[in-house]
């Protein structure tokens, strides 16, 4: 009895299917690892869920394309998935609003952990800002959770004393730069702007995070006039960049 003959075309489809599955596995792993690194500073549970979502999404796409190689029609499947996605978006619009508001509040609404704010009938000290809500602790030691979407729609008053004066400049330097030397040069640069800064509060450099390859710092200054804030930040950023470049060149 002759052996069944597998046509080249079928072989091609099977190989394509397997190749797409393999490629999907590789892409899912790479993207998952990258996302893990990006979300390093975020709560572990959030990172786990995010990685899982990416994994599912990549595999979904990969499996669909792989199945298409075997001759299955995926357009109906894609339509169903699209409808399901839309339904999920509508069901979770509040959640997504809060996520989006967190982004805008970081950029446009100036308050941070430690500040005391007033919004609607609530006022208290900000103890946490997470992707969903901002947590306040009131004078009566009540914990109030305010959805971030509120901050886009409502007036927020930052009642922290002298908060308008405080400027915090985040700085990232590589691990090979001598921190003591960098700090000394940075403070000397700030001294030249003394005229525009509150003399009672000399600049302070604080280490936020330390790793082998990089150090995250925050330079805190108190300005005299709010209308010069942008100019001061710009000048200091420029000075800091010069110092970093100079020190990196010296290392080489």
């Amino acid at each position: 009895m002759p052996y069944p003959v597998i046509s080249y075309e079928l072989l091609y489809h099977i190989v394509s299917f397997l190749s797409i599955i393999l490629a999907t596995w590789v892409v899912a792993r790479v993207l998952s690892t990258l996302l893990g690194k990006l979300l390093k500073g975020v709560a572990p549970l959030v990172a786990v869920h995010a990685k899982r979502l990416i994994w599912i999404f990549i595999w979904l796409l990969g499996v669909l394309f792989a199945l298409e190689q075997l001759g299955l029609r995926i357009d109906v499947l894609l339509l169903l998935i699209g409808l399901l996605g839309a339904a999920l978006l509508i069901a979770n619009r509040e959640v997504l609003q809060n996520f989006a508001s967190k982004y805008f509040s970081d950029v446009y609404i100036p308050f941070k952990v430690g500040d005391t704010i007033k919004v609607r009938e609530y006022s208290g000290k900000v103890i946490e800002i997470n992707p969903m809500s901002t947590i306040l602790i009131t004078d009566e030691e009540e914990v109030v959770s305010i959805p971030n979407s509120i901050f886009i729609r409502e007036t927020v008053v930052n009642i922290t004393p002298q908060v308008w004066k405080e400027v915090t400049i985040p700085i990232l330097i590589s691990g090979e730069i001598d921190l003591a030397e960098f700090e000394s040069e940075t403070l000397k640069s700030c001294n030249k702007l003394k005229l525009h800064l509150d003399e009672r509060f000399p600049p302070i450099l604080t280490v936020k995070n330390r790793e082998a390859k990089s150090t995250e710092l925050v330079l805190t200054l108190m300005i005299k006039e709010p209308n010069r804030k942008d100019a001061i930040i710009s000048e200091i950023n420029s000075k800091v960049a010069e110092i970093i470049e100079r020190m990196q060149r010296k290392k080489k």
Partner: protein, 403 residues
């Protein structure tokens, strides 16, 4: 004070391992003494000068010295302050490196020279700050309080030297654990001198058998008020002809040639000699300079009265030393130890701006040996509150509470 504390804590098993990071421009990078590992930080000469300048400026501000007092805005915005910050950052980096290797349980930062280290350590492990110099809010200019307050908040606990300073710390707004622990000495170093040591001391400094001796033990610094007691002596010699003032002490680390190179002590000594000459009491004043421990013991033993004339004084451990020899003391009202003095009970107090009162009390005491003896005996009893055993117990309590 801190080194003996650490040594004792190691010996008693309160701590298992101790590392000490400090500035030492000439010492080796690492050394071991009495079970404590010393790590030395050095600075290049320009940064050393800047650090020294800033350190002195902060010291003057805390002591409220009105002459040549620079404002915070002058000091904290100068490049020299960057050098002070640089030294602190170097120390903090060394500590962080050691912490990775050793995994410390607690950090104990000692005095204003290292104040920013707590902020720089970037760890939630407990940090204790020991403040030795005075902390009197009435003396500290308001513009300096913000600077202090910003760094104090980095510490989980601060120890000051007396109750009065504790109140000042709290009124500055410090919200952490605030404690006071009287400074302390190890009494085993202060022993009765031998007859020959006593004789040698008297011979070296021209002290005759019938001389009444007033002793001052303090480094040569205007803050220590040697000029006040010299002015007082000009009056005392009119009542007590055979009286000698022995001034023991020379410069601090800052004044040493190997230190930051300042010559404050030499300048002050010269000023004092001029004052003595102007008052015509050269025969009654002896500048003994630095004494070895055995010579110091002899000085205390031979003294009739000890005076602490400081214009400002964090505490005044020399009074405790004197009390160990049961000597009556006349103490400035501006020293931390003044809160342990009961006027007429275990000592006498005076205002350092009023040398006449000091002269009066000195003459009265020299004329009343019975009263002097009683003050000395009561002082000896009071001294027990400032001995190392008690110091170790109280400091350990603070540290262990944090752990």
């Amino acid at each position: 004070m801190v080194f003996p504390l650490l040594k004792r804590m190691l010996n008693e098993g309160i701590v298992e391992d101790a590392h000490w990071v400090s500035l030492n421009p000439t010492g080796p990078e690492k050394a071991a003494v009495d079970g404590i590992t010393l790590h030395h930080v050095s600075l290049e000469s320009e940064k050393m000068k800047g650090y020294g300048y800033t350190k002195e400026a902060i010291w003057k501000a805390i002591h409220g010295i009105p002459q040549k007092l620079e404002s915070a805005s002058q000091v904290l915005w100068q490049d020299e302050f960057s050098d002070y910050t640089y030294y602190n950052r170097l120390s903090a980096e060394r500590i962080i490196q050691l912490d990775k290797e050793t995994d410390f349980d607690v950090f104990y930062i000692h005095d204003f020279q290292q104040l920013p280290v707590g902020h720089m350590l970037h760890t939630l492990k407990p940090k204790v700050f020991r403040w030795h110099i005075p902390f009197d809010e009435s003396m500290i200019p308001p513009e300096w309080r913000q600077f202090l307050s910003a760094y104090f908040s980095s510490y989980d606990a601060i120890i000051v030297s007396c109750k009065k300073y504790l109140e000042a710390l709290k009124s500055l707004g410090y919200a952490g654990k605030a404690h006071y622990v009287y400074p302390y000495i190890d009494p085993s170093s202060y022993v009765k001198p031998t007859e020959s040591e006593l004789a040698e001391y008297c011979r070296s400094f021209g002290v005759r058998d019938d001389d009444r001796v007033v002793l001052v033990v303090a480094r040569l610094d205007p803050m220590k008020g040697q000029d006040r007691v010299i002015k007082a002596m000009a009056c005392v010699v009119k009542d007590v002809s055979k009286v000698k003032l022995i001034l023991v002490g020379d410069g601090s680390f800052s004044s040493s040639k190997q230190g930051v190179g300042l010559s404050k002590a030499d300048i002050w000594l010269s000023d004092l000699r001029i004052l003595v000459k102007r008052l015509g009491i050269e025969d009654h004043v002896v500048f003994a300079g630095h004494l070895s421990q055995s010579q110091l013991n002899a000085a205390y033993e031979r003294a009739d009265i000890t005076v602490l004339p400081s214009v400002r004084e964090g505490f005044g451990l020399v009074v405790i030393e004197s009390w160990l020899y049961r000597k009556p003391t006349i103490v400035t009202s501006r020293a931390g130890i003044a809160e342990l003095i009961e006027e007429g009970g275990n000592g006498l107090l005076f205002d350092p701006d009023d040398p006449l009162i000091l002269a009066e009390k000195t003459s009265e005491l020299l004329a009343d040996p019975e009263r002097a003896r009683a003050l000395g005996e009561n002082g000896f009893i009071t001294s027990k509150r400032c001995l190392i055993d008690r110091g170790v117990e109280e400091e350990s309590k603070v540290i262990l509470e944090l752990m």
